[in-house]
Symmetry: C2
Subunit: 283 residues, 2 copies
């Protein structure tokens, strides 16, 4: 027998992973949740059939969405994480002793429960005493905060289904408001390669540019996401992602990373011309 | 009817493209050659079933294998290209007026003929008077040259089948010999992500490090290659790929590129930790 998981990266492109077995399949109030075991990628989680993370390459996404802003902000103490029910962002954040408080707002409690049970590699650190979980819609949660956070990490799904509200102008404006005067927001920013992803990426970028004085985009190689070329948005009230990177200070922390390093931090903001053009078109 | 081209990126991972129709299928003395038309990627060429190039993303590979060394070497005039029967490397090279002579050594004449007929986007510049084509095995060709070339570009297939000899210590040693005293060799260097590719990448790197005093690796996002995370090797007798990059001079040339720029040049040498470790293991 052969069992294959397939995801359509576009209508005309399919990415398939040979599966050993399906460990979980369930329907929450928000989405279908599945967990599979595979030889190539270890365990992997899909939501509504879309790849969220695999044990083999999740380190890339989670390191890049956390360490880039943390190496720029001089002393982030209070952090808000939206989405991220798998716990990967939390695992990276709790390594920083300076962080005093982490609020995690995840719309779907079942995602957290499933990840706690099947994906210990990412869900290992929910028990950290600084972590506070709220099962709410991030779009609603953020409305009531002002001048509260040093860093907001938007670890959303794609801009349709439960994640849709996290790509709106209202949401980015409220993130701006909820950040302190030197706060940083980082978000998963879709991909520039396939047309449909590129349009979503441009739409998000336009709205972030309208909300924040500093808005730059950086990239990483994430093999299990469409095209493998994935972007993150760095939006900030005060700090510049390159000029305000404190390489020595970050390296002095001695954190163990498999993807991120401060040289790569600088390099990841150097984008291909065609991506720069897509961004400029909406700036 | 649905027609899908599939490539196994590993035994457990499959990448599939919906095909409009097959334009060519033939067997040369060396390999099976196929050309397809697709909505997502335009025309694409496969050799022995492996993806070589698509019209949608070939610019990334060809720009990165040509402009990186050309922006470092102060005045490359005589260039040897091994493989590259599709013409993409030639198309990028002939944009440099300083180049006086290009030798192209391709083992398989049928690849050139097929690309001339079906892939004008890459094969457009074979007619340039500076281009001289030799239908020979690059491994044999290179043996008889000494102190001849400013730049050698090794645009090989994977390290099995016809491309195997282009990953040997003998070959790299002969490239060193065929280069002038300030010559540069650039090669396609496989991918660090899937185990089998990573082993091939390490093997190539070890042999290049043993042959050249300066040997660095750089990366690009190539969506249609396994994992989308592709590496190139920069091996040199004298020039350093970062310290000797002349950004102003290259930008003064006014070449139009869709991927390459000199900021990205610098960034592309900043590798993830896990890739650095794979390289260090064999250095």
């Amino acid at each position: 027998m052969q069992l294959w998981y397939s995801e359509r990266h576009t209508q005309n492109v399919k990415f398939s992973i040979k599966v050993d077995k399906q460990l979980f399949s369930g329907q929450s109030d928000f989405q279908r949740i599945d967990v599979f075991d595979s030889k190539e990628f270890g365990r992997f989680l899909t939501l509504d059939g879309y790849m969220m993370l695999t044990e083999k390459d999740e380190f890339i996404y989670h390191e890049m969405i956390v360490h880039v802003p943390m190496a720029v902000h001089p002393c982030a103490k209070k952090v808000l994480v939206i989405g991220a029910g798998d716990g990967g962002v939390i695992r990276e954040l709790v390594q920083y002793q300076q962080i005093e408080h982490i609020d995690l707002v995840e719309i779907d409690e079942l995602v957290v429960e499933v990840c706690k049970k099947y994906l210990p590699q990412t869900s290992c650190c929910f028990g950290d005493e600084r972590v506070h979980i709220y099962y709410q819609d991030g779009l609603k949660y953020i409305r009531s905060y002002e001048n509260e956070y040093d860093l907001i990490i938007v670890d959303s799904t794609d801009p349709f289904g439960p994640g849709e509200g996290l790509f709106t102008k209202e949401f980015y404006g409220n993130c701006f408001k909820a950040l302190k005067e030197d706060g940083i927001m980082v978000n998963q920013h879709e991909s520039p390669f396939y047309d449909e992803d590129a349009i979503a990426m441009q739409r998000a970028h336009k709205r972030i540019v309208e909300s924040f004085p500093i808005s730059r985009v950086y990239q990483a190689h994430i093999p299990t996401y469409p095209s493998g070329h994935w972007l993150f948005g760095f939006a900030s009230k005060k700090y510049h992602p390159l000029k305000d990177l404190n390489e020595i200070k970050w390296n002095m922390l001695g954190l163990k990373t498999k993807y991120y390093n401060t040289r790569l931090h600088l390099g990841s903001f150097a984008l291909p011309n065609y991506v720069e053009e897509l961004l400029r078109d909406v700036e």
